[in-house]
């Protein structure tokens, strides 16, 4: 027996659900969806849960993560109830519901919290650097033999190695915070989906191991996305994802290798990786921003405020990154240093907020959802046998 909670729908509207009440349950959306399968029928079922306020069922469901928003459901919906957008809203809602701190919900539903947190962390970053102001005064000795700025000689009296070490420690602290929140959220997700699953099955340990390859496969390729119509979308998304992941890994794990004084030749992997990532990320930002502004295609019809914050932050990060690079190789010392600070003041809050609490978290949730779905479905199949 389930109690109907009509007020739940209002909450989902805050997460970006639009017009979903118009649904008359014809099932067209589910039938046209290339990803919907017998064991996981969506989006109508999830939309129905939303209308009726069946929160537990939604939280135990992986379906929103299995949807890659090709928009076929919305564009053919006879009542224009935007089933695709409800899946998007539910992804935001789920992100918030996995987050035990409650911050995610605040970031999503309150403008004050969303923007405030970013600004606050940005200020903290700037203040940390401000302690060393003014940065090394005499620019003359800070130019390399190849004409570039010595990036690691910010601070008077701190040698390059120590500087990189310091920043690296900062990086690792940030990574640890991110990891802590993300992993605990993931554990929460695991509890909701696998432990309290609707199919009431216990997943044997061997299955965890057997299905693990899926996790990596889907993380690396996002093959499910390509099942949606429009391969170019998959490619664009993949470019962004791979570029972003590469950069993240390089900065957090291989900073001394990446942030070198020496300016390597253009074909050097260090620069090559940077360019590849910049290209992928920038292309994606431009295409998506234009689409969102034009509201072209179902998936860009509705933009939640967090979608814009995300795009803008990513864009500013990339832009300051590019500027930093140009200033450095052209030997503009002060510009380089100040831009570096601004770059970090954007990058750090973006990562801290977006990765565990907001949009970026789908990087982890999507492949995990596929993994968990397989676990539950296969365990259920075993039980049936």
């Amino acid at each position: 027996m389930v109690k109907i909670r009509p007020e739940f729908a209002d909450e989902i509207k805050k997460f970006g659900g639009v017009d979903f009440n118009a649904c008359y349950n014809c099932g067209n959306c589910t039938a046209v969806c290339p990803l919907s399968v017998t064991d996981n029928t969506f989006p109508r079922r999830l939309l129905r849960y939303t209308v009726l306020g069946m929160e537990e069922d939604i939280q135990a469901s992986t379906d929103p993560w299995l949807c890659y928003y090709c928009g076929d459901c919305s564009s053919t919906c006879p009542r224009q109830a935007n089933p695709g957008e409800i899946m998007m809203a539910l992804r935001r809602y789920l992100t918030a519901s996995y987050d035990w701190t409650g911050l995610s919900r605040k970031f999503y539903t309150s403008k004050k919290w969303g923007i405030g947190s970013l600004v606050l962390i940005g200020i903290v970053v700037i203040l940390l650097f401000a302690f060393f102001l003014p940065f090394t005064a005499d620019p003359a000795g800070l130019i390399n033999e190849d004409g570039g700025v010595k990036i690691n000689h910010f601070v008077k009296g701190m040698d390059g190695e120590t500087f990189v070490k310091t920043i690296e420690i900062g990086d690792l602290v940030m990574a640890a915070i991110i990891t802590f929140f993300l992993v605990s959220n993931i554990f929460n997700m695991y509890l909701k989906i696998v432990i309290r699953n609707a199919k009431k099955v216990k997943v044997p340990f061997s299955l965890y191991v057997k299905e693990a390859w899926n996790l990596f496969y889907h993380f690396g390729t996002q093959m499910r996305f390509s099942k949606c119509e429009g391969k170019s979308y998959w490619l664009l998304h993949w470019l962004l994802m791979s570029g972003y992941t590469l950069m993240f890994t390089v900065i957090v794990v291989f900073l001394p290798w990446f942030q070198t004084e020496k300016i390597h030749p253009i074909y050097h992997p260090q620069r090559f990786i940077g360019y590849y990532a910049t290209f992928g990320i920038l292309l994606a930002i431009i295409v998506w921003s234009v689409n969102r502004l034009r509201k072209s295609g179902e998936i860009h019809k509705y933009s939640h405020k967090t979608d814009w914050v995300f795009l803008i932050m990513l864009f500013l990060t990339t832009l300051t990154g590019i500027m930093l690079h140009i200033f450095r190789i052209t030997g503009m010392v002060h510009f380089t240093y100040y831009t570096y600070v601004i770059h970090l003041a954007i990058l750090v809050p973006m990562l801290l907020v977006e990765v565990p609490f907001s949009k970026w978290s789908h990087l982890a949730y999507r492949p995990l959802a596929i993994y968990f779905t397989n676990l539950v479905n296969k365990a259920a199949a075993l039980k049936k046998k």
């Binding site: 008359y24 349950n25 014809c26 099932g27 067209n28 589910t30 039938a31 046209v32 969806c33 919907s36 399968v37 017998t38 029928t41 109508r44 079922r45 564009s75 053919t76 919906c77 006879p78 009542r79 224009q80």
Partner: protein, 431 residues
């Protein structure tokens, strides 16, 4: 008809069941009526139907006598293959308009409908009265129970070979006929221009035209009538007798993406009817109807729907998402079985798209000085639904039948009674 002005009490535009009914009601009340039909025969959509719900009388058995009553009524003059346009309301509350008679290139009074011209004609084109299932000649009698049952030359496809002229025993073929235009004045005008069928070509995912065993309900209707083209129910691709037929409901209706959010009101019932008829025609066949909601609302409809269930018609709640063709011509329907909440794929060897009604845009183009107001769906707007449902925004112009919205036959007939009664009141008020 002479080119001089001709006077009538009432001009009825449209000779379908609604127009005939309105004309007969007024003629029986001693009014002089001109009935204008743009097609070669009166009868509208109804004459092409097989049996009609919920009584299962054959459509022809109801319509043909009404058609002959109309044509023979001393107070009614019928003008087929004609248009009545440029209608103007005069200051005294009467109307004038232009009656345009297109040439059939056949002298109507001489033609006996023997069809010798048809045999002689070498041109074959798709037969619109059989909804393209078979062909017809360029010299042809529209359909076997047409009224008037006279031949016409389809001049657009005619190659002017003269074979029909030579074959005609009555010398009734006359290629010199011209368009005739007559100014007509009338006390009141009734618009009964009916509806257009939705064309499911625009729904790509259903593959009409691409998958040959996907047909429209009107094509099925033609396969079920006594005057049917194949004398059997066959699937078009290979002529096989189908034994597992699917009906897809709400094709073109209740769909915002197609610009028609309203329900067409008849598709559920005619599908239930065709299901019953198929059970009789192909006793071994399975019929499955995929529906959203069954709109069995009229007198005897619910009972009729229950009867179809009793006869073995299967009803599945869920809108069909896509239709794909297999190599052997069978079709795979993908849908969500709402009751079970699961996705299913079902294979059928014939799929019927139960197409809905759309407004006939013609109604809006008939008037000169006053624009006839239409509603948001393109139907003629009824301005006084709670007092005089047949009234339009132009005083003295009344609407009958599906020109004002989707309706079944009994509702059309009732609304024609309303149009006739309001027109009569209008005439009496003026006199």
């Amino acid at each position: 008809m002479t080119p001089d002005e001709v006077k009538y009490d009432v001009v009825v535009v449209g000779g379908g069941i609604a127009g005939q009914e309105a004309a007969l009601n007024l003629a029986n009340s001693d009014q002089q009526v001109l009935l204008v039909e743009k097609d070669l025969s009166i009868g509208g959509h109804m004459i092409h139907l097989s049996k009609v719900f919920p009584t299962l009388d054959c459509g022809a058995c109801i319509t043909t006598p009404k058609m002959s009553e109309t044509v023979r009524h001393p107070n009614i003059r019928v003008s087929t293959f004609s248009e009545f346009t440029e209608i103007e309301r005069l200051s005294d509350g009467t109307f004038t308009g232009l009656l345009t008679r297109h040439p059939k290139y056949v002298i109507e009074k001489d033609c006996t409908g023997c069809q010798d011209c048809e045999d002689a004609c070498p041109v074959v084109v798709k037969d619109q009265y059989q909804y393209g299932l078979v062909g017809r000649k360029a010299a042809y009698v529209p359909f076997s129970i047409s009224n008037p049952r006279v031949a016409a030359i389809d001049i657009e496809n005619c190659i002017l070979c003269g074979a029909c002229e030579r074959a005609c025993p009555a010398d009734a073929i006359d290629f010199t006929q011209k368009i005739e235009k007559t100014k007509v004045s009338a006390g009141t005008v009734i618009i009964a221009t009916g509806f257009n069928l939705f064309d499911p070509d625009v729904i790509e995912k259903y593959g009409l035209g691409k998958h040959r065993n996907v047909i429209t309900s009107m094509q099925m209707e033609r396969q079920l009538v006594p005057t049917r083209p194949y004398n059997n129910v066959l699937r078009p691709k290979d002529g096989k007798m189908p034994d597992n037929i699917a009906y897809v409901l709400c094709v073109g209706s209740r769909d915002q993406t197609l610009g028609n959010p309203i329900c067409s009101q008849v598709c559920c019932m005619y599908s239930a009817k065709q299901g019953q008829l198929l059970m009789g025609a192909l006793p071994m066949a399975d019929v499955t109807i995929y529906y959203l909601h069954i709109r069995a609302f009229g007198k005897g409809f619910e009972e009729f729907y229950q009867q179809s269930i009793g006869m073995g018609v299967e009803y599945v709640k869920g809108k069909v998402g896509t239709i794909d063709e297999k190599e052997n011509g069978d079709l795979v329907l993908r849908y969500e079985d709402i009751r079970e909440g699961s996705i299913k794929e079902a294979t059928h060897d014939l799929v019927v798209l139960s197409v809905g009604m759309l407004a006939n845009p013609e109604a809006g183009t008939l008037f000169m000085n006053n624009a006839l107001e239409l509603d948001e769906f393109g139907y003629i707007r009824q301005v006084d639904m709670l007092r005089n449902p047949a009234s339009t925004n132009i005083e003295g112009v009344f609407v009958a039948g599906t020109a004002s919205g989707p309706m079944d036959i009994p509702d059309s007939i009732a609304s024609s009674g309303a149009a006739a009664a309001e027109a009569l009141s209008y005439l009496k008020r003026k006199s």
